[in-house]
Amino acid sequence: MAPPVLSNEEIRRYSRHLIMPEVGMAGQRRLKQGSVLLIGTGGLGSPLALYLAAAGVGHIGLVDFDVVDESNLQRQIVHGTSTVGLAKTESARRRLHDLNPLVEVTTYETPITSANALDLMRPYDIIIDGTDNFPTRYLTNDAAVMLGKPNVYGSIFRFEGQVTVFSPKDGGPCYRCLYPEPPPPGLVPSCAEGGVLGVLPGVIGTLQATEAIKLLTGIGEPLIGRLLLYDALEMRFRELKLRRNVNCPVCGDHPTVTELIDYEQFCGIVPEVQTLSSQYEITPVELAALLETPERPFLLDVRNSYEVEIASIEGTDLLIPVDQLPEQINKLDSSVEIVVYCRSGARSGQAVEMLKAAGFRKVKNLVGGVLRWSDEVDPTMAKY
């Protein structure tokens, strides 16, 4: 099908593209004909959606089931203060419509799953992975490979990013060629736990948008078979070679994974993890009451020292970051009652498990951590 012609309105809007011979009328018409599905409308999805809409990509699909939160706005620039509380897909659709009403935006307010992934992706030329977890990354990869669509991949952590284009149909590798297996849960921190420099997804998402535009217009050298690494602190880009693994279970010569699987299970995620029995848990309200009594427990903070500056429970006895707990366990007295806390209750849960394994029995995890303490006991405490 010949690419659609441009209206005079479109010619005015895209004139800076049209006057470059590398894009020109032919390239801009290919952009108008093109379609891109963005999985995730967050840190990476924000600059992606904005630049792809601005560039005149004819049809943009947005998949997300989250709601805009104040803490998103440090980096998720497609959203705004006026759309806090709104579905991210709808928040992004409004901003994109304002930026460029000439492009079609379709929103899917749903998590992407093994049941819907192929149907979601099928109508689109290019898939862009801007998610934040390993199960969805493997799911996105496998579905894109099965449909023979390029997957423009980007991922970030703190100050560091990775970008590449997975496109086995062009002879390139897929995500499983790069990382055959996911890390076990808990070993690689997420951005929610590890933090992220707000501008980092801007850099990485913009690189992904560049690659998508190159693929649609057919210009330049695509980032296939090359992994681009970015380190914001060192301000350095590096490039590594990526090869298609002929034994890859998905894109190899004899694929063994030919339909979508259970990716939570593949990534070792057990639903409804109930590692602690209630005997080893305490709620913020229970702890607050206990701290008023003469039998007040020993209060152990297992966060990092820079988090203490943000918010801290009054009367904390000791700070040992969870990573250092094995070396510093001798600072604790197993004969007294110990309550362990962190930001959300996850790290302190690990700490309680470590202490139990070391023989401690009078140890409890503050469920919900500082966040729930702020909700239920001390609303003046900052949440982060």
Binding site: S155, P182, P183, E239, L240, K241
Partner: protein
């Protein structure tokens, strides 16, 4: 033979907060074991029962050691070895 190892952000906290570490070794395996000897807490993040973890890639220059000779890959003075673990962030 001095080899420079680049440490990714996610693992720097286990390597004295260094972005790079210089060590002497003549193979990739010897280099990584030397690194873990110097920074023991890094061990469980790179190795699982003595084997390189499957979500931790190691490159000599720009080449994945899986396409060289794995941990037996020989190293030349001045080369750079990069540890590149999987990261998933995006939101």
């Amino acid at each position: 033979m001095a080899i420079t190892i680049t440490i990714p952000t996610a693992l720097r906290q286990y390597a004295g907060n260094n972005a790079t570490v210089a060590l002497e070794a003549d193979t990739v395996g010897a280099l990584l074991h030397g690194l873990v000897e110097q920074y023991p807490t890094l061990g469980k993040h790179i190795f699982d029962g003595g084997k390189l973890r499957s979500f931790v890639n190691v490159y000599v220059g720009d080449e994945d050691i899986r396409y060289l000779q794995g941990e037996a890959t020989p190293l030349k003075d001045g080369e750079t070895v990069s540890i590149i673990p999987a990261i998933a962030g995006g939101m």
